[in-house]
Subunit: 215 residues, 2 copies
C-alpha cells in the first residue's frame, strides 16, 4: 500500500487527500489551521496541525517515510517553495507541487519536484472549450491544436452511416468509438449508422470540433 | 460570434478569459484590482477595473448585452453570490459560477445559475487517479469498465513495434495515437516503433490499463 502526505488542505489539497483515501491509499493530511484538518479526520489515516515549513515538526510527524508528498499551498509562493525544500531535505523522492504561474512552475522543476500541476488553469481550459463547443462532454488536450473529444451526436448525423458523413474529409476528425448506452463500439466501420443519443469519441483539431458541434 | 463576460481574474478566471479569446470569442474581462486586468488586456476584447457588485458600473460597462457570464470569485463567497444577483438583475440568462463548497453550489443552483463548476475538486480527482495508476496522465471514463487513457510509455515498450507488442491481445487495449513531442501520430500502423518519452493514447479496459502501467 502506498503512503501519501498532502500538505495544505485548501480546495485542491482537501479533495486530493479525500480522493486518495477513498481509493484505499494511506494518507497523512497536514495543515496549520485546525478547522481545515478537522473535516478530513474521518476520511484519512492520520492528520496533523502544524506549520509544514518547520522541518523538526515534519520529521516528528513521520513525513520522511511517505512514498509521495503533494504540496498544495497556493496563495503564499514562498511557503510553497520552503515546504518543498523541507520535503527534499527529509529525503522524499516523489514530490507533486501546485504552481500558480509558469515561472513558479519552472522554479519548482529546477529544485527537483517530480511533477508540477496547475489545477485552475487546466480546468479553465476545459470549461472554456465546453462553452464554445456546445456538445463537448469531455476532452483530453493533446497538442495546442488537437485533442480527444467526447461529444453528443449532432442532430444532422442521426441515421447516417460514417461513410456518408465523411468525418475526416469534412471536419478533419477521426472517429475512435461510439458509445451507445453502456455498449462501446470500438473502431466503427464505414457501414455503421449513427443513432440518436449516441455519444461520439473523436480525435481531431479544436477548430474541426468547434465546426462539428455547431451543427 | 458569442460574447462572454469573465468576472474575477484569479488563476481560474484569468485562464478562462484567455482561452476563450484565443479560440476567437469576444471577451470582456472584469476585476477590481488593476494588476489582474493589465496582464489580460493584450488578449481580450475589452477590460474593466470595477467592483462587480456595483450594478450601475456593470450596466455602464455594457455587461447586460453578453451571451454568457462567468463568475470566478472564490475566497469571498458573499461577493460571488452578490455578483450573480447583479447579473440576474441585468437579465443575463446564461451564468456559469465557481463554487467553493457543495452547499455554496446548491445555493447558486437555487438562485438560477446555469452551471456550477468546482475547478479544484475536479482536478484533484484527476491528479489522485494519476497518482494511483502510476503512468496515467489523463483519462476520459467511458463506461464503468472502459476508458481512454493517456499514459507514459512503459520502459519495456521502448524500441518495439506495435506488431511485436500485440497490445490488443495481451492487454485488451487499442492504441489511438502516439504523442511524440508536439507531433501526433494518429492511427499508428503495426510497423511503427515506440520511442522513449512517447506518450500513448489508448482505449481499453481499466484492468488492462492498470496491468500495462505496472510494467
Ligand atoms: N506553512 C504551511 N503549513 C501548513 N499549511 C499551510 C501552510 N501555508 C498554508 N497552509 C495551508 O494551505 C492551504 C492552502 O493554502 P492557500 O490558501 O495558500 O492555497 P490556495 O491555492 O488558495 O488553495 P486552493 O485553491 O486549493 O483552495 C490552507 O488551508 C492553508 O492553511
Ligand atoms: N467584487 C469584485 N469585483 C470584481 N472583482 C473581484 C471582486 N471580488 C473579488 N474579485 C477578484 O476576483 C479574483 C478572484 O478572487 P478570489 O481570490 O476570491 O478567488 P480564488 O477562487 O482564490 O481565485 P483562483 O483560485 O481562481 O485564483 C481576484 O482577482 C479578485 O480581485
Amino acid at each position: 500500500k502506498k503512503t501519501f502526505a498532502v500538505i495544505g488542505l485548501g480546495r485542491f489539497g482537501f479533495h486530493v487527500a479525500k480522493t486518495l483515501a477513498e481509493l484505499g491509499a494511506e494518507v497523512i493530511a497536514i495543515d496549520r489551521e485546525e478547522e481545515n484538518v478537522r473535516e478530513l479526520s474521518d476520511f484519512v489515516t492520520q492528520t496533523y496541525i502544524l506549520d509544514a515549513m518547520d522541518e523538526k515538526a515534519m520529521k516528528e510527524a513521520g513525513i520522511a517515510n511517505v512514498d509521495v508528498a503533494i504540496v498544495s499551498i497556493g496563495q503564499n509562493v514562498e511557503a510553497n517553495l520552503i515546504v518543498v525544500m523541507v520535503l527534499i531535505d527529509l529525503g522524499i523522492k516523489n514530490i507533486i507541487a501546485k504552481a500558480v504561474t509558469p515561472l513558479h512552475g519552472k522554479l519548482l522543476e529546477k529544485i527537483g519536484v517530480t511533477r508540477v500541476v496547475y489545477p485552475e488553469r487546466d480546468m479553465a481550459i476545459r470549461v472554456s472549450h465546453s462553452l464554445l463547443m456546445k456538445n463537448v462532454l469531455e476532452e483530453i488536450p493533446l497538442t495546442p491544436k488537437h485533442g480527444i473529444f467526447e461529444i453528443n451526436t449532432p442532430k444532422s448525423f442521426v441515421d447516417k452511416s460514417l461513410k456518408e458523413l465523411q468525418l475526416r474529409k469534412s471536419f478533419n476528425v477521426n472517429i475512435l468509438a461510439i458509445r451507445r448506452g453502456n455498449d462501446l463500439i470500438i473502431n466503427p466501420s464505414g457501414e455503421d449508422k449513427i443513432k440518436e443519443d449516441d455519444i461520439l469519441l473523436l480525435l481531431g483539431t479544436n477548430d474541426g470540433i468547434i465546426k462539428l458541434t455547431r451543427l
